[in-house]
Assembly symmetry: C2
Homo-oligomer: 230 residues x 2
């Protein structure tokens, strides 16, 4: 049995949940607040970051990118089709490039600051970095999300999905990060119709349903978050 240490509004945790759901792999979810630096959690991942995947009796697998590779190598290697990391070398480069784009760059510029300022800081003590949201940081994230949305639109104009014509890790990464922004009502969907239609497609996949059904106490989802025709 697999256990995932995660947080419902951590975009990288959502990415791993989507991968597991796509492959139909059962997982036990444990909500972790990494800023509390729980000793048992630090033993699993000294970097103190989410997500961390643990298979019974095995060493912990820390970090979204490493977990994705691990799932591909242990759970998906024998699949003939439906691989989220395609076989061909060129496609693997493009899928990994875009998955990293969202897990690193988009996270740094958009989804990380939005989740931190609007959600996580509420739960943190002052020593942990809590306090009122930093408005400069929010303003920068709201400006940055626009060019990322246009980038998605630009990619999807030349392909059916982000990294080619099939759904891959790239689509799941982008959708996972966007879904956190969307929960917070922070995605200016009217800026790019093509990006919006692509997200509507990914969002209607069965793998997304569990995420759309969750609500955090005290932080209601935006009106259209769970709406498939937003």
């Amino acid at each position: 049995m697999l256990t995932l240490f995660q947080h419902p509004l951590c975009p990288r945790s959502r990415y791993v949940r989507l991968i597991l759901n796509e492959y139909g792999i059962d997982v036990r979810l444990i909500e972790e607040r990494p800023w509390e630096r729980r000793e048992e959690f630090l033993l699993l991942n000294p970097a103190a970051e989410l997500p961390v995947l643990v298979a019974d009796g095995q060493p912990a697998v820390p970090g979204a990118g490493i977990i994705a590779e691990y799932i591909e190598e242990t759970q998906a290697a024998d699949l003939i089709e439906g691989r989220l990391l395609p076989e061909s070398i060129g496609a693997r480069v493009e899928v990994r490039r875009l998955a990293n784009w969202f897990n690193d760059k988009f996270h740094e510029e958009v989804s990380g600051p939005l989740a931190l300022e609007r959600v996580f800081k509420r739960h943190m003590t002052r020593e942990q970095g809590g306090g009122p949201p930093d408005t400069d940081s929010l303003r920068a994230a709201r400006r940055n999300i626009r060019y990322h949305l246009h980038y998605i639109g630009w990619l999807v104009r030349t392909r059916d999905c982000l990294a080619g014509n099939e759904i891959t890790l790239a689509d799941l990464a982008a959708a996972a990060h966007l879904s956190v922004c969307d929960y917070l009502g922070e995605v200016p969907w009217n800026e790019d119709e093509v990006a919006k239609n692509w997200y509507a497609r990914v969002k209607s996949r069965p793998s997304f349903r569990p995420l759309l059904g969750e609500t955090l106490a005290g932080i209601p989802a935006s009106a259209t978050y769970a709406d498939l025709d937003f």
Copy 2:
């Protein structure tokens, strides 16, 4: 023929050079200054980051982590021994975890700020982010390097190398990032004898020699940088 867009004091570029040297793969080096945002370079990597590897006639492979996986899959897959990314699933997790630790965390907390403040800012215009070094940033990097050095020492006390008993991508990543700090005379080697001895071992490998022989105009290497008995 492979071409690597890189910078001599970019730690992630050094990581890829070490991998290529370990496998004995020839590469043409092109010095890129990513802050100039050269149009041809942005076409290779829209994220505008180093390094980028290009095989003749193939799409560009951007980013140290993706390049490492690419080299493993295209150049090293048939090797019986000497693989820098081992075969076993558990070992792969640990090697990737530590390679990411240095390429992400150490880069963010130590080698990135040191290279930016002490080297790259000299070449940048004010619009590109140039100017005098930020002393707060330097001070934080100099504080942070200590706990990373102790972490290396702690790992090597229980194993021969960072991620096990053989040299892997983890050692090359750590050594690549440390080598940039060492060039700048920023490694407090006397803080951890075990870490120092491990670095001396990695530094004496033939793959390291080309890096130790390079000097940047205007930025001399520290007295012990190229010294194998430092």
